[in-house]
């Protein structure tokens, strides 16, 4: 079985700070990580390989330094890594990104064997859109299984797959066909620790580097800024509210008195709440 998994190198946004005066992002020294949701997908891919055999190829589109993430993925046990990197990709929105990735996946298919499953994380922590997976599925005409919590079974002979997918208000059990695209939910797997041997292999193994041309992309107008229908017009910090919280004085008062005062304050501001809370707490 050949599994392709798309990962993204993202800034560890927990560590991003916004410059208080200029409202610009202070990215100096911000470390990069593999998008955490992609790691769940990678672990799922590795587990499937453990059971069914085959190969796992990791793919990322990004600047040359995204190679670090691919090496990490190799360290976890992926068999092959492909870096799609070209200045033409700069500024891609989700449509342009899914175009480039789908072209690269098609090329991976020609070069290393057609994938049975393409994985992505459910979304990235920097873009947060959850759009790239569906975009790839549509372009490659793969059946689309998003927000998958669990892969219940795969039958390589009948080419059938059964998954549990997160839906509004419940869990949907679906049966579909291979090849498919799966976006993986967060609470499924912890990524395994790669073995020392894998780490050594990863350090030594080649990362396949493809430009747009290498990936067979001849229409560059569909890449990067030019291929992106969405345009970012303005980036700004959320406005601070004029007044800050009215503080309840806690000096020299017992906790019960403070609590009573707080409740009185809440109910003065929102008198209708008293009835509602009384009703709800009574039920």
């Amino acid at each position: 079985m050949h599994i392709v998994i798309c990962i993204k190198q993202v800034p560890d946004s927990a560590q991003i700070r916004v410059h208080p005066v200029t409202n610009t992002i202070m990215r100096q020294g911000v470390p990069t990580i593999i998008n955490p949701y992609d790691l769940f997908a990678l672990e799922e891919a590795l587990k499937l390989r453990d059971v069914h055999g085959g190969e796992v190829t990791v793919l990322t589109m990004g600047p040359p330094m995204a190679e670090d993430s691919l090496r990490k993925a190799l360290g976890y046990g992926a068999d092959r890594a492909v870096l799609l990197t070209d200045r033409y990709f700069a500024g891609s929105d989700t449509l342009a990104t899914s175009f480039a990735l789908s072209q690269a996946i098609a090329k991976i298919g020609e070069t290393f064997g057609r994938p049975d499953i393409v994985f992505t994380g459910k979304q990235t922590i920097d873009g947060d859109t959850a759009q790239v997976g569906p975009g790839i599925a549509k372009r490659l005409n793969l059946s689309q299984l998003t927000y998958v919590a669990k892969i219940a079974s795969i039958d390589l002979k009948t080419r059938e797959i059964e998954v549990a997918r997160r839906a509004e208000g419940g869990t949907q059990l679906l049966k579909s066909r291979l090849p498919c695209l799966i976006t993986m939910l967060e609470d499924t797997n912890e990524i395994r620790r790669g073995s020392l041997q894998q780490a050594l292999c990863a350090a030594r193994s080649q990362v396949v580097k493809w430009t747009a041309a290498d990936a067979g992309i001849d229409d560059l107008t569909r890449c990067g800024l030019r291929g992106s229908p969405t345009v970012v017009k303005r980036v700004f910090a959320p406005t601070a509210r004029a007044e800050s919280a009215a503080q309840i004085d806690t000096a020299e008062k017992g906790l019960q008195d403070i609590a009573d005062e707080l409740i009185a304050d809440i109910l003065t501001r929102r008198p209708a709440l008293e009835h509602e809370l009384a009703f709800k707490s009574g039920t």
Partner: protein
């Protein structure tokens, strides 16, 4: 938003100043559409929130507001149509066919794409639910148009373009995104970000019915079953009127009981900040914020939560925010309405007791009389 390369918000020269030159083939794209999401026979409330927002956009553009209902033939669809009119739609497009009984990407994406190609809306809005995101991504790709995810604000610019504002960089910044030269302009909005609109007094509207150009045999994916959450005590945070949440300041998993106790005493749902989910102290469906749920309660009580921007964007729609934090400089006090600088571990039990006293049957009788 830049999803490529290093995720720089690229304000590359030329991009920020792109002028609108809508190609001729898009010139007759008109009207605002809202996709109505059906969830086990009911319309998902996010669809009504979107109709409210869609109404404002349509009025500004002086065009019509249309709802789109996809589902199996029968009562469920007819009810949804009536609801769409009740929340302000002028027109509803229906595709009703047996394959649309349960959500699957293929038939839904096909139905919606065909409708768009036939009737050409200039704006198409969907809820940023698991269904809405699954559907929007493939429809936008097929139509080769722009899609802005998880918007927190929608507006119409002076030149008539949709200005879609969304958090970026994990919520630290907001950005306004345009789809200038493509149609429709698509956006998703999370539940509870937009307020619920008023129902219309005497709703009227037109219905346009369409066929699904696909039969069950064409569809590769089959639904085997559905396990509803109400059998598993999942949180319904997004629609709770009162929410009590705990953060890392509570120090230990056991102390979350204090939050749950208060929540129970006042009939509230309980929630938490993200680190608690990461530590495994609470399940993921209790997380409030950018990567969790957006809430819009009448009362929100946050205990031991610092108020990081990613948390803030999830609670800003609350009517009244009460913060309990030991640090007088915690960012939460910048957007809370009422603040108490004190140890939440000691204060929560006192607050629970005081509420219980205040809301006891005795005082309830007093209220009723």
């Amino acid at each position: 938003m830049s999803t490529a390369s290093q995720a720089t918000p690229r304000l590359a020269p030329g991009r920020a100043g792109v002028k609108k030159e809508l190609p001729d083939r898009f010139k007759d794209y008109r009207h605002v559409w809202v996709f109505l999401e059906l969830e086990r026979g009911n319309v998902h409330p996010v669809s009504f929130e979107l109709l409210g927002e869609g109404r404002k956009l349509a009025d500004k553009l002086e065009v019509q507001l249309a709802g789109v209902v996809l589902g199996p033939p029968g009562e469920m669809v007819e009810d949804a149509v009536a609801e769409a009119f009740a929340y302000g739609a002028d027109l509803v497009y229906i595709v009703d066919a047996p394959p649309l009984a349960d959500y699957r990407n293929e038939p839904f994406a096909k139905a919606l794409t065909d409708l768009v190609n036939t009737h050409k809306p200039e704006i198409l809005l969907l809820g940023a639910t698991t269904l809405g995101r699954d559907l929007a991504g493939s429809v936008a790709t097929t139509l080769q148009t722009g899609l802005t995810a998880d918007c927190t604000e929608l507006d119409v610019d002076s030149d008539g373009s949709l200005a879609a504002t969304r958090p970026t960089f994990g919520g630290s910044l907001l950005c306004t995104i345009y789809t200038l030269n493509y149609r429709p302009q698509m956006a998703t909005v999370r539940p509870r970000v937009m307020p619920m609109p008023q129902r219309v007094d005497k709703p009227v509207g037109r219905v346009m019915r369409h066929k699904l150009s696909l039969v069950e045999d064409d569809i590769v994916t089959k639904v085997l079953g559905f396990l509803p959450d109400n059998q598993s005590a999942m949180a319904n945070l997004a629609y709770a009127d009162v929410v009590v949440a705990g953060g890392l300041g509570l120090g230990a998993a056991e102390n979350l009981q204090l939050v749950k106790n208060l929540a129970r005493a006042i009939g509230a749902e309980h929630g938490c900040s993200r680190p608690l989910v990461q530590k495994g102290w609470m399940p993921a469906d209790r997380q409030i914020g950018q990567t969790g749920k957006t809430i819009r309660p009448k009362l929100y009580i946050a205990a031991g939560i610092s108020g990081a921007i990613q948390h803030r964007v999830g609670v800003e729609g609350a009517d009244l925010i009460v913060a309990i934090n030991t640090d007088p400089n915690a960012p939460i006090f910048e957007f809370a309405h009422l603040g108490i600088v004190t140890d939440a571990i000691r204060f929560l039990p006192a607050l629970t007791e005081a509420f219980t006293r205040r809301l006891s049957p005795h005082s309830r009788d007093k209220l009723a009389s």
